[in-house]
Symmetry: C2
DNA sequence: CTGTTAGCGCATTCAC
DNA sequence: GTGAATGCGCTAACAG
């Protein structure tokens, strides 16, 4: 791309046509790599287009029925929560890696209001602002699925297909991660573990809970407690206090996010327990917070960037070819730091 | 909004016109609250539009010259950095509060590549995808300013106007925050302080450095060291080691972000220094990390949500009325936790 | 095979 | 209140 026209209006196909001495139609054919023009004129047109910095008007294209070349993402969370949540930024970055190469853009909305999310989908789709969307934070009996189906907005559900009502999904296999986690804890001799989970409404919370329970059962371990939180320090603290004050407290706790895991370290310490000697702590989803903690927290790490990229690939397929199959991305891997130790007997 | 047409194409003005038995023009007038239709027909039209769930085609509007009703934000950072950086998500949430009410949407790009950012501005603007953009992470002699001016893309610069080359800016007064910080440290008897700064290329880094120096000078305090970092744990650690190994080490250090502040706590501890008894630590920009730290870190907290909202308000004014004046938002306030103590003499 | 012409999509707006 | 033109790119029908 060279210098675009200074100041004035953006160049159009008509302008290229004039300069090249051909009709607008010919220019369109040339620019879109379609037959109907000789190689010579095509080359000439391309040179001119490049010179004046022509970019197709997305409005005109969309109006013609070509789609908006835009995908949408609504993040319905409290802004304060999002400060801690490293997931979305990486996820978006992953999306971007894929879509920008294909000429797509991302439309983003961040709002704490649930009703707003539904309204946004309707408006975006009706106004033709997006060609498809990513549905994150999948919930059990998610009302959004029904709406999307009803209005016909193409969507990729980011979450376990079991709960996606047949929609195309991209998911990371939390059950597999749970297996890795429990296997490792078993190896370290832990027989009583607990789970500080996320909100019960989230599908991934349920999947994790069930998988943890199953894996424990398989090995004759006990899941001696499970408490749901809203991922905050306060709720994590409370959950952990409950779990540790049991008559037979766990020797290891799995936390669904980094912040509650940190709360766990504190509560343990306050109760006179050493981490990891007296209590092993494992965080689900890694973050800088885990590295920075004292001791550094072992965590189940996913490649969120790749996750976003996979979701984008599937959504673009869905948008462009009308269909796409669900994709399971690589599960989380256990990265060991210093919060896991052999269970004290 | 009631049930939209099932399955088929989205409704258009023409459809409403047919149903109402009037011309498309009349419908347009009615829908936009403009004269040219009787109150009776206007009401009838509005009812029909609502019934069939009509939403204006953004493509058609944009094509007509009405603008895309979209503003853009490019975040040029390493995805890994963004995980820790709570600023952008809150900033975006603040933007959203303002723009969605005015019918605008946000287009987002996250990329580590600088050249991509410039290319994106050109493309977005040429394709008519955005009506204006937010320019964040302002740098000294920022090449982006020149590009934006040249292509005529309306922009609000988020950063100190001194370095914005006359562009409209929204900024938070870091100099004021520096004053608050230094005043408090002086009050606590600190006479030798140091600064672990962000990258030297960022304008806000420079502004903070200068303000800190000035405020120290004013009170007869010494700035006994200043090291630039890239905000990471590693660089923060190194910076802090350098500062503390001086013959006359500081009794308090101001850190430009939360992660380096945490690094500071660690380095101090490793050196046998107690925080805050032997070394006071102050983080610039608050975050959950500060709360979670041990001890919890005192910090200079900004209302980032309000910051984003202010930036959006100004950008929309700029886009809709062609001009807007720069706005200074409220400076950061010092929130005291437990990392600040009276200087040991 | 190379190229032109005309009309479409949708909301807006000016002249009647 | 109506009709018609407008903005911009795409494409079917048509001509050299």
């Amino acid at each position: 791309m060279t210098t675009p026209v200074g100041g004035g209006r953006r160049p159009t196909i008509a302008e290229i046509a004039t300069r090249a001495g051909v009709s607008p139609g010919a220019v369109s054919y040339a620019l879109n790599g379609r037959p109907g023009v000789s190689d010579a004129t095509r080359a000439r047109i391309l040179v001119i287009a490049n010179e004046i910095g022509w970019v197709p008007s997305s409005a005109a294209r969309a109006l013609r029925g070509g789609g908006a070349a835009t995908v949408g993402l609504v993040i319905t969370r409290e802004p304060s929560d999002l400060g801690v949540e490293p997931f979305f930024m990486s996820f978006v970055a992953g999306i971007e890696q894929v879509i920008s190469d294909r000429g797509f853009a991302l439309m983003l909305q961040v709002t704490p209001r649930k009703d707003q999310e539904l309204a946004t989908y309707k408006t975006w789709w009706s106004a033709g602002r997006v060609d498809g969307i990513f549905l994150t934070d999948l919930k059990v009996d998610d009302e959004r699925l029904e709406l999307l189906k009803r209005i016909g907005l193409p969507a990729v559900v980011v979450g376990d297909p079991t709960y996606a009502e047949g929609a195309t999904t991209v998911w990371s296999d939390d059950a597999q991660a749970a297996q890795a986690a429990v296997a490792r804890l078993f190896e370290l001799g832990h027989l009583r573990i607990a789970h500080v989970a996320g909100p019960a409404s989230f599908v991934h919370t349920r999947v994790r809970s069930e998988a943890l329970r199953r894996e424990c059962h398989l090995r004759g371990m006990q899941l001696v407690g499970e408490v749901n939180t809203d991922y905050t320090l306060a709720s994590g603290t409370q959950a952990c206090e409950v779990l540790l004050s049991q008559p037979e407290p766990p020797t290891a706790i799995v936390f669904d996010n980094d912040v509650t895991a940190l709360a766990g370290v504190r509560v343990a310490r306050a109760a006179g327990l050493k981490v990891p000697e007296d209590l092993s702590i494992l965080a689900w989803d890694d973050s800088p917070l885990c590295e920075v903690s004292e001791p550094p927290l072992s965590a189940l790490r996913r490649d969120v960037l790749a996750y976003g990229a996979a979701a984008a690939t599937v959504l673009l397929d869905l948008v462009q070819h009308g269909e796409a199959s669900s994709v399971r991305t690589e599960g989380a891997a256990l990265v060991e730091r210093r919060s896991l130790a052999r269970a004290r007997r």
